[in-house]
């Protein structure tokens, strides 16, 4: 049996995190979660390297932008694809995240969970 793909979910909204995690687990992913950028770095150091990171931008501590700019400089984690899943959706916000190295950008309210799953699969 193939090894389960691992996703680190960085999201502070409990309900959204619960729904996303449930969907991902059902699809056979192993999901690790973090509330903000700092916790995400802790999880990266504690656990096995994920295959993909789903990242919200507005987070209580270290926000998504700061996390993106920091992780891209880290030798060990810089190559992990990061898909932003946020409700910020202005062109300048999308551009900023993409310029910082995000591999994709999804506006939560405009996508269903199935559509998000499809996007995730396209990064495998």
């Amino acid at each position: 049996m193939n090894k389960k793909k691992k996703i680190l979910l960085v999201e502070d909204e409990k309900d959204l995190k619960f729904l996303l995690k449930q969907t991902l687990v059902e699809e056979g992913y192993e999901v690790d979660e973090a509330m903000d950028g700092e916790e995400a770095f802790e999880k990266l150091k504690e656990n096995e390297k994920p295959d993909l990171i789903l990242l919200d931008l507005l987070l209580p501590g270290m926000d998504g932008y700061e996390f993106l700019s920091k992780i891209k400089k880290e030798h060990d984690y810089g190559s992990i694809p990061i898909v932003v899943v946020s409700n910020l959706g202005q062109e300048r916000e999308i551009k900023k995240a993409m310029d910082l190295g995000a591999a994709g950008y999804l506006i939560k309210a405009n996508f269903t969970l199935s559509e998000i799953l499809e996007k995730i699969k396209s990064f495998e």
């Binding site: 309900d15 959204l16 939560k108 309210a109 405009n110 969970l113």
Partner: protein, 350 residues
């Protein structure tokens, strides 16, 4: 003002009025040298009269606060109407310049400087409020959307047909709320000049076809006679922002379906002229009352008969559509007769 009127109130009083006006005023002579400036204008530009009087408008390019005015009007002082000018931080002016003619020859130019900083600040606060609220609304809307999706996939237990139907209705309303939020954000972007465009070569025929397919069910459901005609055998591709033009086509088709009575007709035609392609959509139905036609592309406007027929909609679709078409250097217009038909047209340069 007629000379007799000036002599009636007296020259001194006339200049006192000129000087005490709230708006800034500047008068340039036929050689584009500044010959008159009032106190409000001096205050706006933080300058002394002696330092600026009799100077040519071209000299303004050396004065930081006046430089933008020179760039706007040019060395021949072109006519402008209510053009916004960012003068410095916390100072936004609305500039109007008009030529004063004598025997068809320009003898002087009058520049009116109207301070709109406060209005702009209020607009900014309002736009910020809308942006923040819209973003705040998106989070619970996403949670509702995703929860409904899981429920309808029977992830939380098998559903009866009735439950499925009810869930379908809630999902539809949830999507509608997401569209309203997105539309509000688009309005703010348009107002702030941040509605960005990415132009690519695209087949407009395919684009129209895909939107038509999306609405097929709805058209059938209302038993509308529908026709989509491509007038040229081979339509050229157009340089457009396909996502944005799709918003326009959707808005026009959506409106046509909404305001056509069951059993009515909708005809879409797509053709090309010399250097442009033209899209038109005709629908029989309620039409637009003549006295309200001038407002149809305004924000938050819905015609009275449209509101009676259908309470949905916030009246911004055509405002957004016009902005999108104009950003493509195209034109959007319509012909309408109340209780008969409406035809909307837009063209895009090839």
């Amino acid at each position: 003002m007629k000379e007799q009127q000036i002599s009636k109130i007296g020259e001194e009083q006339f200049f006192a009025i000129f000087d005490n006006l709230v708006d800034g005023l500047m008068v340039f002579d036929g050689d584009n040298n500044l010959c008159l400036i009032n106190s409000a204008a001096l205050k706006i530009f933080e300058i002394n009269e002696k330092d600026i009087l009799n100077k040519s408008i071209e000299d303004f390019s050396d004065v930081p606060l006046l430089r933008n005015l020179f760039y706007l009007l040019g060395k021949n002082i072109k006519e402008v109407f209510r053009k916004e000018l960012d003068c410095r931080e916390n100072l936004i002016l609305e500039i109007t310049s008009s030529s004063i003619l004598q025997k068809d020859k320009r003898v002087s130019s009058l520049i009116i400087l109207h301070n709109i900083t406060r209005e702009k600040q209020i607009e900014k606060t309002k736009n910020n409020f809308v942006t923040v609220s819209a973003h705040q609304l998106r989070t619970p809307l996403s949670a509702i959307r995703w929860s409904l999706e899981r429920l309808s996939q029977s992830k939380a237990g098998k559903l009866t047909e009735e439950q499925k139907e009810l869930l379908g209705r809630v999902s539809k309303e949830n999507k509608r709320m997401v569209s309203v939020v997105n539309e509000l954000l688009n309005l703010v972007k348009i107002e702030e000049g941040r509605y960005l465009y990415k132009f690519n070569s695209f087949s407009i025929e395919k684009l129209v076809q895909s939107v038509v397919e999306y609405y097929e069910e709805l058209i059938k459901g209302k038993e509308i006679k529908f026709e989509f005609q491509v007038l040229d055998r081979k339509m050229s591709k157009v340089k457009i922002d396909a996502g944005k033009i799709e918003i326009v086509i959707r808005a026009l088709i959506d409106n046509a379906i909404r305001y056509t009575f069951p059993g009515g007709t909708i005809k879409i035609a797509l053709g090309s002229k010399k250097k442009e392609i033209e899209f038109s959509i005709m629908n029989t139905g309620i039409g637009i009352p003549k006295d309200q036609q001038q407002n149809i592309f305004k924000k938050f406007f819905r015609a009275s008969n449209a509101m009676k027929m259908d309470t949905e909609g916030n009246g911004n679709q055509l405002f957004i559509a016009r902005n999108i078409i104009e950003a493509h250097k195209g034109k959007i217009w319509f012909e309408s007769e109340e209780d008969k038909r409406t035809i909307f047209y837009f063209n895009l340069p090839l």
